[in-house]
Amino acid sequence: MGGEKLGWKDLEIGAVVTEPGSASAYKTGDWRSERPVRENEKCIKCGICYIYCPEACIHEDEEGYFESDLYYCKGCGICAHECPRDVIKMVEEVEE
């Protein structure tokens, strides 16, 4: 991830970030303790999970189903909570 090696002299005035879109360098997936797991047979492709995800990390695939980018999914469970068909279960992450 960007920034971890920066020393204080490397920072711009006021810690301004000059590279647009650099927030994507920060992988919020590191925060996750539970991951969303889908049973797509029940999915009606309504896109509610996609709309509600606060990380905007849910993408539509070629068949119209939705999936979470686990580099950014922080495991909040909002998608699972909002899904009208109970497609998504939050499953605890286990250390390998």
């Binding site: 020393g7 006021g14 301004v16 970030v17």
Partner: protein, 395 residues
């Protein structure tokens, strides 16, 4: 050599005039006694077309400072003013321009904090914000309130500074008092404050992110950078005051001295009470006591070197605090003690708290402090603990 024209002006109007001459682009403030005359006068100037600025009316001081932060981030020259509870309501947002390095200029008409409700002067509001990373200067009279406001723009916006700056003038004692002062020529003030350009502004053609999230891996580095830069502001403040003196003939220094050449006892004050203390110094001198006066013009960054130099030959330092650091005594006294720790073991420092919530300290109050401090020195020599005394309190 002092150029300009002598006018009689209330402190608030003097500040408004400085902001007008500085040609502020955006003003946002919420009225609060004893600051209201400043913002009223500025609103009038904008309404009458005397000042071409955007005046943003807001519902609170929290919003006023937020509006200033946004405008400053867009590259505008901004101004706000507040006092007492208003400054406290701003408190949270005050951290933003100092850490984002936005040169917001603010004037505070010092006021006590509730409860009980008091609109009158003390320095509780100024002391409550002393750790935030704003440059803080204290004016002793209306001339200084004007001059320091002009200097605040030049210092804050300097490319090597880029920190917010605050000028403190004592509520009512200065904000509402008409004094004569020298009003310099507008062109000279305009010439003294150069056009301002921040290296990073909100600009769609050159996008930047300001005030980003700072996880543990970077937060400390941002604070280190901020602190080093803040300490470096002092040389620019000195340079600006020097150049101000060259142009306008009035000279400022971080630690002002009065009759200190041969003084063994020094009184230390901040703000408007310095002029009363000068009279006390004169009377004490007539009584044969070698007393002088030190006024802290610059409070943040704290002028360690100049302060230590000012007291180098002093044996007794008598500090007046117009605020309480509850459970600790007086904030100014605590800080000067820490500034001298390990440097001056031979110096006795005696602190008093007074002038709270608009209680006047007359000449005899300062004389009392000096005489009482001399008694306390004897107690210190006997090995007794001395406590911070609140003066002028009825039993």
């Amino acid at each position: 050599m002092t150029k300009g024209k002598i006018v009689g002006l209330e402190g608030s109007f003097a500040v408004a005039e400085a902001v007008r001459m500085a040609n502020a682009d955006v003003i946002s403030a919420y009225p609060i006694t004893p600051q209201t005359h400043i913002v009223e006068r500025l609103a009038e100037m904008v309404a009458d077309g005397e000042l071409d600025a955007e005046f943003i009316c807001v519902e609170s001081e929290h919003s006023a400072m937020s509006a200033c932060v946004g405008a400053s981030a867009a590259g505008a020259r901004v101004f706000t003013c507040s006092a007492g509870q208003g400054l406290e309501l701003m408190h949270e947002v005050l951290y933003i321009p100092s850490s984002m390095r936005l040169p917001v200029v603010a004037v505070v008409a010092n006021r006590a904090l509730s409860a009980p409700l008091s609109v009158w002067c003390d320095h509780s509001d100024a002391m409550a914000i002393r750790d935030i990373g704003w440059i803080q200067m204290f004016a002793e009279n209306n001339q200084q309130a004007f001059d320091l406001t002009v200097c605040a723009y030049r210092v804050a916006e300097d490319k090597e500074v880029l920190f917010p700056a605050m000028v403190h003038l004592d509520g009512f004692y200065l904000s509402h008092v008409i004094e004569d002062m020298v009003m310099p020529d507008e062109e000279e003030v305009v010439g003294f404050i150069p056009e301002y350009e921040h290296p990073f502004v909100l600009d769609p053609d050159r996008p930047v992110s300001m005030g980003c999230y700072g996880p543990p891996f970077i937060y400390s580095e941002t604070k280190k950078a901020q602190e080093v830069a803040f300490e470096n502001t002092k040389s620019k403040i000195l340079e600006t005051w020097k150049e101000f003196g060259d142009v306008f003939g009035r000279h400022y220094s971080p630690v002002e001295k009065y009759r200190m050449e041969d003084a063994r006892i020094a009184l230390l004050t901040m703000g408007s009470s310095g002029e009363t203390a000068m009279l006390a110094v004169e009377e004490l001198r007539e009584e044969g006591k070698d007393v002088g006066l030190i006024s802290l013009r610059l409070w943040r960054p704290f002028p360690f070197k100049e302060f230590r130099d000012a007291v180098k030959d002093v044996e007794l330092l008598v500090v007046l605090d117009r605020a309480i650091s509850s459970g600790m005594g007086g904030p100014v006294c605590s800080e000067v003690k820490s500034a001298l720790y390990d440097k001056r073991k031979d110096l006795n420092i005696v602190g008093f708290i007074g002038g709270l919530g608009g209680r006047d300290i007359p000449v005899k109050g300062f004389k009392y402090m000096v005489n009482r401090a001399l008694e306390k020195v004897k107690a210190i020599e006997r090995g007794e603990e001395i406590e911070t005394e609140m003066i002028g309190i009825r039993e």
